[in-house]
């Protein structure tokens, strides 16, 4: 079944046209890699899907239904999103995680505390990092925490915007390996890293001028 469909989507900011007539389709269970030069509108594409930006014309369908407030709400509870710019605010990492997990739509996640230690080890994050204030974290640490959070949300659809850009090569491999083992998941990845090509069955959607 089609998870996401773009039909003749047009989007522009002021006079700069980002998408002129964009159409594509992603099936549930597929793994998709979006590639294209900087400034082509990859991040904007995710923002359109998540309802943070609006199309100027054309339609976006999620499970064959056009984006509406109710569909957007459902989608945000079903998708795990790792944004390109990761900002958790000013607070201590652990407390911020607690707060995210206390949102009404996440309270059903009762086992995240037990699952976390294993993920911290896998992604090579020292547990002392949880007691730091988020703004103190390095770029790579933020990226790994965002990936860990996305996994803890226990959702089957991932929207990853440059999830490995700030990581060293062995860590990139580990992230890609983790997602290649997630056979249950639908993956939408934006990345300049060619390592993602090695993910089995990945489908490329180029965004080119």
């Amino acid at each position: 079944m089609a998870f996401i469909q773009f039909k003749n989507v047009h989007k522009q900011f002021d006079r700069k046209v980002i998408f002129e007539d964009l159409s594509f389709e992603i099936q549930t269970g597929e793994r998709v890699l979006f590639q294209g030069p900087s400034g082509m509108g990859k991040t904007t594409l995710f923002q359109l899907i998540l309802g943070f930006e609006k199309v100027d014309s054309g339609t976006i369908l999620i499970d064959n239904q056009p984006l509406s407030p109710a569909i957007i709400k459902g989608l945000r509870q079903k998708i795990a999103y790792v944004p390109q710019i990761i900002d958790w605010g000013q607070g201590v990492v652990k407390e911020t995680l607690e707060e995210f997990m206390s949102f009404q739509s996440n309270v059903r996640l009762t086992h995240w505390r037990e699952k976390m230690p294993e993920l911290l080890v896998y992604f090579d994050v020292e547990s002392s990092l949880l007691d730091k204030k988020f703004p103190m974290l390095s770029g790579g640490e933020r990226q790994r925490m965002a990936i860990i959070l996305a996994i803890l949300l226990d959702r089957n659809f991932f929207l990853l915007d440059e999830p490995t850009a700030a990581l060293d090569s062995p860590m990139k491999q580990k992230v890609i390996h983790y997602f290649s083992e997630r056979k249950d998941a639908t993956l939408l990845v934006i990345s300049h890293d060619n390592e993602w090509h090695r993910l089995p069955a990945i489908k490329l959607i180029p965004l080119a001028p």
């Binding site: 923002q47 998540l50 309802g51 943070f52 407030p69 957007i72 709400k73 945000r76 509870q77 998708i79 999103y81 944004p83 710019i85 990761i86 900002d87 958790w88 605010g89 707060e99 995210f100 949102f103 009404q104 739509s105 996440n106 959070l149 949300l153």
Partner: protein, 257 residues
């Protein structure tokens, strides 16, 4: 004891006193003279008009007129709060006007009926004057809360979107900015409340004592007023923020200020 009148000579002497700042301005080349004269002139005209209005309001003492005057003052305060923040009057006037009407009416009526126990709750001498005093402070609070809230959330849009993407409801996602902005708007009044009576004699007390009240009575009034002002300010800040969020933030979290 009766308050001594200020006669024409007294008023002239009052204006003559301005020669001191003007001389200093000239001597130090501060170039403040124009601004100073304009603001003093505005003050004189505004207070004179207010004096005339209040004379009549108190003389006629008609409930409907007092209420109308009150609503006009709230509308003016809302306008001023919105313009200060360069927000859209069309979108923001209802939330802010509503918030101030509710908070200030509640505070004044509480003061009139439970603290000073007067029978005519809407009499000009108390309703109009006390609400005017409360209103100014509520307006200051609303200016700060709206400024902090809408400036910061737009600046920190990435963080806000991230929270929404985690499945947060509109109010869950907005929580950090709601907290920050309300705190910022109330901190000044909390700070001044703590030093009251240490460094200065508050304006209302001065007026009352010059008018012949005993210091103890003036102080009791002052205490009550400080508390009433604080309560009205907090309630109007919270209501104005929440009403404005309902008006400009869509259920999906899109902000259209």
């Amino acid at each position: 004891m009766k308050t001594p009148d200020i006669n024409t000579l007294g008023l002239l002497m009052m204006l003559l006193l301005l020669a001191v700042p003007l001389a200093l301005d000239f001597w130090l080349k501060l170039k403040l003279a124009k601004d100073m004269i304009i603001s003093v002139a505005r003050m004189l005209v505004q207070l004179a008009l207010m004096g005339i209005f209040l004379e009549y309001l108190i003389k006629w003492d008609a409930v409907w007129l007092n209420m109308l005057w009150f609503l006009v003052m709230v509308l003016a305060a809302s306008h001023s709060a919105i313009k200060r923040n360069k927000l859209s009057f069309r979108k923001f006037w209802k939330p802010i006007f509503g918030a101030m009407v509710i908070a200030v009416t509640f505070a004044v009526l509480y003061f009139n009926s439970f603290i000073i126990h007067i029978d005519k709750l809407f009499s000009a001498r108390y309703f109009v004057i006390i609400s005017g005093m409360i209103l100014g402070n509520s307006m200051k609070g609303i200016i700060i809360v709206l400024d902090k809230f809408y400036t910061n959330i737009i600046k920190e849009k990435q963080q806000y979107f991230y929270r929404l993407s985690l499945g947060a409801s509109r109010f869950e996602a907005l929580r950090p900015w709601i907290r920050q902005s309300i705190r910022a708007s109330l901190q000044p009044i909390i700070a001044t409340t703590a030093t009251m009576g240490l460094v200065s004699i508050p304006g209302m007390m001065t007026g009352q004592m010059l008018g012949g009240s005993s210091p103890m009575l003036a102080i009791k009034y002052q205490m009550a007023i400080v508390i009433v002002i604080f309560v009205a300010m907090m309630v109007s800040v919270v209501l104005a923020l929440f009403f404005s969020i309902r008006a400009v933030v869509s259920v999906n979290g899109a902000i259209r200020v």
